[in-house]
Every structure is written in structure tokens, then in C-alpha cells.
Symmetry: C2
Subunit: 203 residues, 2 copies
């Protein structure tokens, strides 16, 4: 094993940047990296499978997990609670698997306190105009909601400097190449490489 243990990659992006698509493609194309299934209090959408898309729990259970410090980060988004399980993360990383977490800027800020060794990646839309067009294209939000999301996006973008990498999702293939490059490069970062592995090769 060339790694000490699995690495944690944290991706944040304003809503509409294409984060979900990019993360899914990355996990499909690279070996040894996975997604940690989050817990949520919201109801499953049609087609969603428990323990695959999310682990669906009621608010009581979720609150109990918060109290027992079972989340490395959690957040309330549009009235629903979402959280990342510490146990699931540590299990994957202990096996040497990398984990890709997709959290908002607030979640990333919390994670940075306990996971300073994580790799923090910020995705940007090519422009605010494009972002607005993409949000409108979803046709799921009212004009007021879109305005609210846009305001939130501008605030979030201001935080890009707190991230290690900033990737602009103008052309999906290019952004994916960059995201993959970040994962591959971080795997050969000297501080993440297992010195035992180097010593054993040097005979």
C-alpha cells in the first residue's frame, strides 16, 4: 500500500455549478475512491434507495446522532437535515479508500477544523450569468428562489480562497480532467505517501 490511509476530498460549489455530475463521473472513472452515504431527514424522492443515495432517518434519530457526535459535519438545508457519518468515513479511509465528500461552504468550514489534512476543492461556474441560466433551466425553482440561490452563490464564491484548489466548470470534460488530476496528484504528495512503502522498494 503506497498510502498511509485513504484521503478525504471535499468539494463545494454554488448550486447549479454541476457538482453532482462531476463527482459522480470522477468516482466512476477513478479506482479506490468512493462517496460516503449521508444521513438525511428529508423524504426519499422517487427512485432514491435507502443506504445508497442517502440513509433516511427521522429528526429524532438525527438529533440523537448529533448529540452523540456521530457527524463530522451536518447542516440544515431548506428545512432538512443532512449529515456525514464519522464512522462511515473512518471505515472507508481505514481500508485505504479515498472519500469524496460533497458539502456546502458551511460544512467545509466545519470539516477544516477537524480534517486539516483533507483536500478542499471549490468548483466555480464559468460566470454568474451561466449559473442563473442553469438554475432557470431546472425549472424547479420560482424566480424568488432563484434570486435567493444567486445571492447565496455570490456569498459562497467569496470563500474560494479558503480552498486548496479552484476549478471552473465551463467545459465538463476539462473540469473533470482537472478534478481527476487533483485526486491523482494528491495521492503522490510526499506527505501522503507511506514511507514504509518507499523503504521496502529501496532494496
Amino acid at each position: 500500500m503506497n498510502r498511509k490511509k485513504g484521503n478525504l476530498f471535499i468539494v463545494s460549489a454554488p448550486s447549479g455549478t454541476g457538482k453532482t455530475t462531476l463527482c459522480r463521473q470522477l468516482i466512476g472513472e477513478l479506482p479506490d475512491i468512493g462517496h460516503s452515504v449521508s444521513y438525511t431527514t428529508r423524504s426519499p424522492r422517487p427512485g432514491e434507495v435507502n443506504d445508497r443515495d442517502y440513509t433516511f432517518v427521522d429528526e429524532g434519530e438525527f438529533r440523537k446522532m448529533i448529540e452523540e457526535d456521530e457527524f463530522v459535519e451536518w447542516a440544515k438545508v431548506h428545512g432538512n437535515l443532512y449529515g456525514t457519518s464519522r464512522r462511515r468515513l473512518e471505515e472507508m479511509m481505514g481500508k485505504g479508500l479515498d472519500v469524496l465528500l460533497d458539502v456546502d461552504t458551511q460544512g467545509a468550514r466545519h470539516l477544516r477544523m477537524s480534517w486539516e489534512n483533507g483536500v478542499y476543492i471549490f468548483l466555480l461556474p464559468p460566470s454568474l450569468d451561466v449559473l442563473r441560466t442553469r438554475l432557470k433551466g431546472r425549472m424547479s425553482d420560482s424566480p424568488e428562489e432563484i434570486d435567493l440561490r444567486m445571492m447565496r452563490s455570490v456569498q459562497e464564491i467569496g470563500e474560494y480562497k479558503n480552498y486548496d484548489y479552484v476549478i471552473v466548470n465551463a467545459v465538463l470534460d476539462e473540469a473533470l480532467t482537472e478534478l481527476k488530476a487533483v485526486v491523482i496528484a494528491e495521492r503522490v504528495r510526499t506527505k501522503r505517501v507511506n514511507p514504509e512503502w518507499i523503504r521496502s522498494a529501496m532494496v
Copy 2:
């Protein structure tokens, strides 16, 4: 332009690791990265072209350039002098081009003092046995020279911890993928991205 200016990538490796092949392939496959032609006092080998492979100068000229601080690093290797021109580096980087420098561990140590923003990459052979076999396969060195190179390699390998990345060249394609990933990832590192470029996109 998304970059502030070109980045400097420094590659060191024990002799026989396959550094030259890897660097040449990298430059062939990635845009906007080039090699800065070094100065040397050794004689051209058959097929070598002045100002393409090296700029060939006599020792007097080389010494004068040292005195005038025209090298960012220089070294004596097997009785010949080799140096990297400060002017050539700055010209390429000023145009926003990345530069790949291929220097020994001593040269890298000198560079680190003035180019702390450089990206330092160490290439390792898969094992010392493989290294010895590769050196023998060249059939250009005597057994004594091979022993000397091996001793030097072991010393150099001990310095890998001073580099940002460590790549093992066991399978050429994999090592090339990792080297390319390092260049692509470093280009989207937040500290290297031009904030003006992000601001101009956010309208």
C-alpha cells in the same frame, strides 16, 4: 489568463529512473509547458543541436555567466558544467508558460532557496535492483561507474522528503499519468490562480 504567471516544475531522479523519457513525453502531451534549454561546457554528442538540446559554451563563458549571476542553478557533473539560465526561465514564465526543469538533488536544493513557489517532484525507480539492471542495460558505464552511480542514487533517494511529490516509475504510463496530474492540479491550485480572472468571470 487564469494564471498569475508560468509555474516552475522541478524534477529530480537518480540516474536510470527514466526521467528524460518522462519529461519529454510530458512536454509532448501537455500544452503551455516547455523545457528551458540549459547551458553546458561539455561537447555536443552526435545528433545534438545547439540551442535545442543545450547551448554549448566554453568554460570561460560559463564562468563569466556564473559571476554575473546568470544561472538560477548550476552544477559540475562528471567534470562538465551545466547551468539553468535565469533570463530564459523568466522569459518563458513571464509569457504564462510553465517550465519543466530537470536538475539533480543538489540543483534542486539551490533552487528551493530562490524559487520556493516551485513544484518539486522526485522520481523513484521501482527498486534498487531495477535501477542497477537499467544502468547495466545502458552498457555505457563500467562496473565501477555503476557502483558509484548506485551509491549516489541511494544518497539522493534519501532526499525525497524535501520534495512536494514522489512518483515511482515502475510502469511508464502510470508515472506519466501521475506527472501530468501534478502539472494540471498545480495549475488549479488556489494560490496560483489569478484572482482577477475569477473576479472577471463573476459578472
